[in-house]
Amino acid sequence: MDLPKPNSAIIARKSQIVARLQAVLPDAAVIYDAHEVKAYECDGLSAYRCPPMIVVLPASTEEVAAVLKICHAEGVPVVPRGSGTSLAGGALPTSDSVVLGASKLSKVLETNYADRYIRVQSGRTNLSVTGAVEANDFFYAPDPSSQLACAIAGNIAMNSGGAHCLKYGVTTNNLLGVKMVTMEGEVLDIGGAHLDAAGYDLLGLICGSEGQLGVVTEATLRILHKPEGARPVLIGFNSNEVAGACVSDIIKAGVLPVAIEFMDRPVIRAAEKFVNAGYPDVEALLIVEVEGSETEIAEQLALITDIAKRHNPVELRESQSAEESATIWKGRKAAFGAMGQISDYMCLDGTIPVSQLPFVLGRITELSEEYGLAVGNVFHAGDGNMHPLILYDANKEGDLETCEKMGAEILKLCVEVGGCLTGEHGVGIEKRDLMTTQYTDADIEIQLCVKDVFDPKWLLNPAKVFPLSATDTRRAP
């Protein structure tokens, strides 16, 4: 993985830059010791590491603005970082950069139940947003697997999804407004507690822009009342194809579950071993969850089990209690961790049209044999967002490279069948060079033009999202 050559002139000015940052931040909020900055050398994509020059941890919008003004004046690249859980290398630093961490921006600023929103600082973790409103029976819907740790700032940067977005949408559908600081240090309010923008949908543009257009310091988020109840049903099949067909039939039937999750045998076994979720040992397992009152749940599950039975499942089991439901979800949410216990892995995130599910799963099996690397599949089947986990051995020479090659093949396949490179993790550095498989040069150029407008000097997270060759002439030397 190439990173741009560090600018030695910037590194030579390190002490001067540190002094300027210390003038606007408390001492503890400026980290520049070579050992201490090492803690920020990578994010969730730990195969790639590079310690930054400096890390700053501002605690207010004003401090963020002051930091960005200095970095802008000094021409220093800035890498925004939420909680550092990105699986795409979105927060991977360069050695001449300032990492701007959001960890001290964790306050709840306002909750409003009559208008159903919460305003928080962007470093607050996803789950603690729900935590702030659950005493009133409300929740924040997007629920990435990393929700215990991941920050709203990162959720907005990557437009994160989660298991329940089939019904509730992803981050962009639940984001009402942001306070954002531009690279020049100007503070903008975009959107708010009301719906829809007056002019261009800049809020929609910023969400998912991977920290390249501005640094979001506050977010206004839609909150919803919790459903009266929720219940998952486990449906096991002896073939991935049949499981895929069952998903399609459930959706066509007009009942829209809140989640349809898919796991294949390697993942089922790993999750079972890890947390004893009570999963059957089958080729493909669906977790289908519905919500509502007791009678509503019964009505929906009757319909779903009817459809499932037509596909001759080998296991069909409704959760009998709240504990059992929690255990079922625990297995799914721990799936990545469970696979990590077995082996190093690379997690892909391509999305495909649901109709292509059986074909793509078949092709992945063939590629797995061809490259000699095992694959586990766990994903959001309702929306076609796949998560193939390619297992490799980090200590074995060349294994990571083989894994990367195979990953690229799978992602190209996703694009070929009408899908995309990434459904919810973001491009980061991981899929940067594959952008040309999905987009023409002109499609990419217009996106670069958007960044030109927001960040003319190309200082914000500049080495991400687009192939370096496409951004060479724009990035600071």
């Binding site: 829809d196 509503e296 990434t422 996106q447 687009f466």
Partner: protein
């Protein structure tokens, strides 16, 4: 000009020397007319892909909305965002096109639960102001590959590019629908009731206060709808009635009345205050949708109702304008820094400033 292919559309735009006025079905005539040679999109017509099992539909921009709704209905599906039919309001007789729906981000009562048009659009193809064919997004409902220009294009009123093809996430049509109606409420009481309903677990997907009636809608499976409607009646009073939501969606009560029409988006609890201030300032009538957050006002021609918004957060759009209001801006003025970004984007997407020039500042 009425190109029939995307490449013809690109040629027309690349070779034009003068500004273009983009026309789908000419049924959503927001604000004041703009100058320019008419460029019709109705020649770019037809559904190019429909996969009910994947909840996905792709259509060329000039496809009539009615054609899309019919195709979806045949599979018991629908567009989630309940697009309005504005013909009554504007006295138009044409066929609304899907491109016009997207260009104006036309979103009806269900917006509060199912999202706006911008939340259902998952991919666009368009031609920019230099005649380049571009795409963004695709045909899958989860896609974070690169910047989300789909959102930027939706609701940009043809000022950043001319849409040629659009992909949508669609939803199953519900088995049943029920409306709880409460009569005789003031707007403050109505908005309080709607707030309770929208803050309940009953998945309300319509909440409006029109012509003195508060209406609250639930949809879904038969048994579930019955249950939730009954629970809402228990909480709020009122009764379950037959109600045609088209009257809310299309603002039919304003359609045949003279005057300018303003549209305010505010946080719902500000609705009553705004509504009262609008009436005091000369509004002839007001209606509330989106739980009180969408306020429609009918006003004498030329009256500047935007000033009423004052320091209430939100925005005001002059949706139906008369000659007397020619000096009033249609879209809400943005803070300078944001207007600077908007102008920057326009200059990149349409450097010659030929697409619906002046429509959005």
């Amino acid at each position: 000009m009425n190109p029939t292919t995307e490449s013809e559309l690109a040629e027309v735009i690349a070779s034009t020397k003068s500004p273009l006025r983009i026309i789908g079905g000419d049924t959503r005539r927001i604000g004041h007319p703009v100058d320019g040679a008419p460029l019709h999109t109705s020649g770019l017509s037809g559904i190019t892909l429909y996969e009910p099992g994947a909840l996905t539909l792709v259509a060329k921009a000039g496809t009539p909305l009615a054609e899309i709704e019919t195709a979806l209905a045949s599979e018991n599906q629908r567009l989630p965002f309940e697009p309005s039919d504005m013909r009554g309001l504007y006295g138009a007789t044409g066929q609304s096109t899907i491109g016009g729906v997207v260009a104006t981000n036309a979103s009806g009562p269900r917006r509060i639960q199912a999202g706006a048009c911008r939340d259902s659009v998952i991919g666009v193809r368009f031609v920019d102001g230099q005649g380049q064919i571009l795409k963004n997004g695709g045909r899958v409902m989860k896609n974070v590959t690169g910047y989300d220009l789909v959102k930027l294009m939706t609701g940009s009123f043809g000022t950043l590019g001319v849409l040629s093809e659009i992909s949508f996430k669609v939803l199953p049509a519900p088995e049943a629908s029920a409306t709880v109606m409460i009569e005789g409420q003031s707007s403050a009481e109505a908005i309080a009731s709607m707030s309770v309903a929208l803050g309940s677990p009953f998945d309300v997907n319509g909440a409006a206060h029109v012509v003195g009636k508060t209406v609250i809608r639930v949809e879904g499976l038969e048994g579930s709808v019955k249950y939730r409607a009954a629970e809402l009646v228990k909480k709020l009073g009122g009764s379950v009635v037959d109600f045609d939501w088209v009257t809310v969606r299309d603002l039919t009560d304003f359609a045949n009345r003279a005057g300018d029409i303003w549209r305010f988006s505010v946080k719902p609890s500000d609705g009553p205050k705004l509504g009262a201030a609008l009436c005091k300032t000369g509004a002839l009538d007001v209606q509330f949708d989106w739980g009180g957050g969408l306020v429609w006002a009918l006003a004498p021609e030329g009256s500047n109702l935007r000033t009423v918004l004052g320091d209430i957060g939100g925005n005001a759009t002059l949706v139906r304008a008369s000659e007397a209001s020619a000096n009033l801006s249609v879209f809400h003025p943005e803070p300078k820094a944001i207007e600077f970004l908007n102008a920057g984007l326009r200059a990149k997407f349409d450097p010659r400033n030929i697409l619906n020039t002046g429509r959005m500042g």
